[in-house]
């Protein structure tokens, strides 16, 4: 049976804990303000450059927070369309995200869906081709027929599980962009 003196241990504990707490308090008090984060990879501008047979071109632009502009097309025509994605958070330094999409063409796919408007969209001959030989629809050819109106939806798909499906579900992956544009063919 041995009863030790508790005092030294107790004092030691109190001391060390006080010291630790003091260190923490003093080091925390002069904290720098947190660094501002520049959000990266935000797509807040999408443009479509449409040129018709006569090489007349028109640029349609959507910006974050705005309603999508209407796309006006003529019946029985073909158009060359180029889609681009931008991070325009800083107006003095607009980042063209399309470049990264093209650099990682295997992991990206642009997909179009059209409702009610009489038109079809296919990969253009000068489209960006991935390593599997599939055009990723950055550059497309639009063919209109009769006068009609409807909606065009553009998806930018990241890491699609397939690039050959005809519906959005069949392509898998996650949509980085999903935008609707009203279309009028007249």
């Amino acid at each position: 049976m041995k009863i030790q003196s508790k005092e030294p241990i107790l004092m030691h504990w109190f001391k060390s804990i006080t010291v630790i707490l003091l260190i923490i308090i003093t080091t925390n008090c002069d904290k720098q303000p947190p660094e501002e984060i520049n959000e990266e990879e935000v797509i807040n501008r999408v443009t479509l450059v449409l040129s018709d047979d006569t090489n007349q071109s028109e640029t349609i632009t959507w910006n974050l927070g705005e309603n999508s502009p209407t796309i006006n097309l003529s019946p029985n025509s073909t158009y060359q369309a180029t889609v681009s994605f931008y991070d325009a958070t800083d107006p003095t330094d607009i980042d063209n995200i399309t470049t990264e999409v093209i650099n990682e063409s295997d992991e990206h796919f642009v997909f179009y869906e059209v409702a009610t408007a009489a038109m079809s969209i296919a990969s253009a001959s000068n489209d960006i081709i991935d390593t599997q030989g599939i055009g990723i629809n950055i550059k497309t050819q639009w063919t209109t027929s009769s006068a009609s109106q409807g909606t065009l939806r553009i998806y930018l798909i990241h890491e699609p599980s397939s690039k050959t499906g005809s519906t959005r579900s069949a392509l898998g992956g996650a949509s980085d962009v999903e935008l609707d544009f009203p279309i009028i063919i007249q």
């Binding site: 049976m1 041995k2 009863i3 030790q4 508790k6 241990i9 504990w13 804990i17 630790i20 707490l21 923490i24 308090i25 925390n28 904290k31 303000p33 947190p34 660094e35 501002e36 984060i37 520049n38 959000e39 990266e40 990879e41 797509i43 807040n44 999408v46 974050l64 927070g65 958070t89 800083d90 995200i97 990264e100 999409v101 650099n103 990682e104 992991e107 869906e113 059209v114 409702a115 009610t116 909606t151 939806r153 998806y155 990241h158 890491e159 599980s161 959005r168 579900s169 898998g172 992956g173 996650a174 949509s175 980085d176 962009v177 999903e178 935008l179 609707d180």
Partner: protein
Amino acid sequence: MTILRFLFPLLLYSFLGYTQNCDFRFEGQVIDLHDNLPLDKARVYVVETQRELTTNLQGIFVIGNLCDQSYTLLIDHPDCNPLTINISPAFSSEKKFYLEHHINALEEIIITDNKEKSENKTGIERTLSSDEIDRYRSQNFGDAMAQLSGVSKIKTGNNIVKPVIHGVSGSRISIVNNGVRLQDHEWGADHAPSIDISGAKQVQLIKGATALRYGGDAIGGILKISPQKYARIDSLMGVISTGYQDNGRGGFLISNVVKTYQGGSHLGINTSLKKLGDLSSPEYELTNTGNREQNFGLFFGRNTITQEWKIAYSFFNKQVGILSSAHLGTLGDLARAIKSDVPLVRKPFSYTINSPRQTTSHHNITAQYKNQNPGKLHWEMVYSFQSNQRKEFDVRRGQLSDQAALDIQLQSHDFQFDLESKQAGSWKWKAGLTAQIQDNFSDPDTGVRRLIPDYIRSKLGVYSISEYTPSNNFTAELGVRYDYDYLDAQKYYRIDDWISRGYDAKYQSTIISTTPNSNYLTEQIKKYGNFSGSFGLKQYLGNEIFAFLNLGLITRSPNPSELFSDGLHHALATIERGELSLTQEQAFKRLLSIEKKNGFFKFALSAYMTDIKDYIFLLPTGVDATRSISAIVSEYQQAPKVNMRGFDADLSIQFSDQLSYKAAAAWVEVEEEDGTPLIDIPPFNFSHSLVFKQTKKTPLEILLTSNHVSKQNRYPEVNFEYNFFENGVIKTELIDVSTPPDAYHILGLEVGTQLFNRIDTRVVIDNLTNVTYRNYLNRLRYFAAETGRSIRVEFTYLF
């Protein structure tokens, strides 16, 4: 067992007078050294006269007809180290004998009358014994906890599992590991607590909110994980366990080794490694659901009878894959995923963990000292440092692919001091002080707005609990606690958000500066003073049945995620937003329980009602379609009043030495004052099991379990509409994200035996009949079914 000599004669009663030579009478009382309670059924053997006696309920034994000589007494109790002592009845006729009752405390089975283990006397407790912990050794914490009645789990996939007690989780429950509250799991359902239970010896669930020692804000209850305590013997003991699981094609290796010394020192090392590849549901692979875990622990301590100290370090490290098909960009992706019966991404089995994924690492250093001198105040001090780092990786482009989208580091310093009176008598008290400093840092290199801002939080709490036990049949307990909570956060707000949320008028003074990128840098200082209290009664009703009544007043201040969250959860296409104006929530919980702990038929029934004022919850408020990716916006809000009611029931029957049956059921209902049910409330569940256990000859254990989970029929409607493009036409459909999945019933089978007399071998089959089902409390239920049949083989070598 080594015979130790512990004798602390506190009271030497006066010499009663000299009479006849062999007419002396000696009265002794055997007392538990640690809590001053009498020990009954202790065996007292008088060597010289070869007489044997046992102590009565008061721990008293009386020896008559003693002569004027010295006698040797051997005092022995099944749970204690024996004691040898000499007495001279001629000089003293009464004596108290203190036995160390520790060994009992340490063998973990729920023994009746296990006084010193209960955290509070008037609260109902459920315990996960070491046997049950062993069974879940290789599983994650949340799954193991769900074995306790009243505990369910909320999950994000199958690897991120957190416990839900009485319908609440996160900051509303407290998880106490090794004496220290775990600081890491308060940031939403997709952040699981970082605990490895393979080194734990006991888990206690304290229902109700009466364990004020660990905080006054745990509306649901407390989960307390305790390590093993070690006997004072020279020994090397340990366990090595390994196993393989077919679903996930992986396994684990766990080893715990402890060296103990007779002087009370002990030194131990725990390591555990776990690895699983993609899991599979009955019909398809669950792509990217693998996980890895590496845990390490080291501890050193000394346990003398009157003092105990311990220093422990533990490291928890986990990498978890999130189901690939849960990676969504837009609301449309969510709509398509819900519409599809099978996950949209299904790839062949792989061990690789791709993005989206999470990595968590948690360091914990704890130093504790306990002083338990008999008859005096017992006191205890604990200091702990926790560092929790959490990274979440999303599917990103280019150089950002390897950059985490979320990277938070939370450091907490906790200090706790407890004082406890151990005097004999009907009044006892406990009091203590807790102090905490937390520093949260969100790494700006992510290139994503901080979900949780940088902050410093300090808390100071004091509590006191008094206990009145006039007889063995009745105990009353009253506790009070006050916490001061100070939070200082520095956060950037987008100016347009700031204005649209109406902060410009109310919080203008918090703006420090305006940045060129249209952000305000603000400093948010929040101070809360929280008062909590508890009152409990325990009454013996006869026939081994006890009744418990608990009243708890719980005050909880809003946590940083509720106040400040600001970001996109890719997995659910949800933007989560905190709210600066949140105030404390206050709950009043009433819990009534009846329990029979002994005999062949045991049961525990608890019913509870909780009213919560200003309940903080996340409510989907609409769809943000102005982005290139549309998403559901969820905002933290306060409901003026929320009512919860529920019950838990446990029952167990021991039919014979070999055969036993256990059943547990839990039901809870939570609604706002106007009757709107709250989201994510566990549905009714009922589980039961039949155990055949043979210990003689060849040990054999067969366990058949059955678990029924009903459909949750009370839920709020949070559906949204989406325009699908189908064969050239737009079709608007209502996307049902509200309706809970159907009821399900799963079976499990477990067979255990011993090979070569040394190696415990167990075959465990989960989801025996390979049922396809979805779980309402799994956030990824929209995308895939739960895991299918899983067969696990485990080998454990104990030494």
